[in-house]
Symmetry: C2
Subunit: 202 residues, 2 copies
Amino acid sequence: MTSSTTLTPKGAATRARIVQAAADLVLARGVGRTSLDDIGAGTGTGKGQLFHYFPGGKGELVRALADFQAERVLDAQRPWLDTLDTWQAWERWRDSVLAHYGSQRHWGCPIGALASELSGRDPSHGAEVAAHMDRWRGYLRAGIERMRASGALREDTDPEQLALGIFAALHGGLLLTQTMHSLEPLRAALDGALAALRSHAA
Amino acid sequence: MTSSTTLTPKGAATRARIVQAAADLVLARGVGRTSLDDIGAGTGTGKGQLFHYFPGGKGELVRALADFQAERVLDAQRPWLDTLDTWQAWERWRDSVLAHYGSQRHWGCPIGALASELSGRDPSHGAEVAAHMDRWRGYLRAGIERMRASGALREDTDPEQLALGIFAALHGGLLLTQTMHSLEPLRAALDGALAALRSHAA
DNA sequence: AGCTTTCTGTACCCGCCAGTACATTCGTTA
DNA sequence: TAACGAATGTACTGGCGGGTACAGAAAGCT
């Protein structure tokens, strides 16, 4: 499924180069508006290599891009994303999110963009992206659960609901970031989300 | 620009039929994946009529769809959207939003979907959609301002920032609604947003 | 009625793009 | 060096989709 043909070091490097460049192109122009020829031109390769490394065609490539971007985005939030156990950690996490999306050349979230573009399509892509979203959201929920267990949050707090709300605020902020070409919506969204979190303080 | 040629009643009806059906198709499948032939098939017309009523081609049609959907969405939130002066009005508004998006055949928000799909393109569409978003957000800000003026919210409340955060939560909830095929994310997002609003109560 | 304008349907053109076929070069192993 | 598979490059195909041209039906106006 992934790559039954063996990859030489050179091949692996080329594959990685394709994924990285394609990720940027797709982020800037969307899946539908990025052709395989564009990706070939952007990487100094051609359709030969593309179908050599991704025999499944554009679909397989897009799935690889989703994986790559998900990893990239989650890594940018570490180590705080894994240890949302204190109020300070949440602030730090907020700052790391702002810093990451502020340093991108383009506005918006790669995962969110893919999610909204592919949600109406076959489950093959939609479920894949949804799984990444679930994983991401799971980190928030785990942090909230630990906060509740440690007594920082009230007993009647529903971690699932609260994580969902915070996650939604985050992605809404990123969506508005795209349309308004400013980081302010994301900042306001995260501030609001943390205010909602604090409203459950013990 | 709009339609210099005069429209007979029959023509106006056909045009409206096209817009309505096209709006549903585009909402379900996205702009990029909806062809003019699809729209023709969905309305019992052909490209002849399409280019007759929208001489500017697909771009002009999409702009008409954006206007139509924006009106539809805002109307669904009335009359509470115009009178967000009391805590109860905000609750009612929340309920009307949930009811509207819960009654749709498809998940997600028409405006949000267009926004994320067209944001990277020429300003022609991006600015159009952004303007609708701004108008919508303006209603929230106006309500917050009146709440502050009436003493329900603290003096140090920033209506712009708070409206931005609530608006972001709303759209994030709608985005997750799309990927998770459930109304829960929207509910959680709005609950969180109202909690953030209440945290500014005087 | 007769003319004009709008409305509707059909057939076509052209460019783009995913995918294919195949030739060629490179690298590794024997 | 011979040989094999991986890596790369190029040329082609088939369908799809936006857009155009144009012919016929319908409806307003005098």
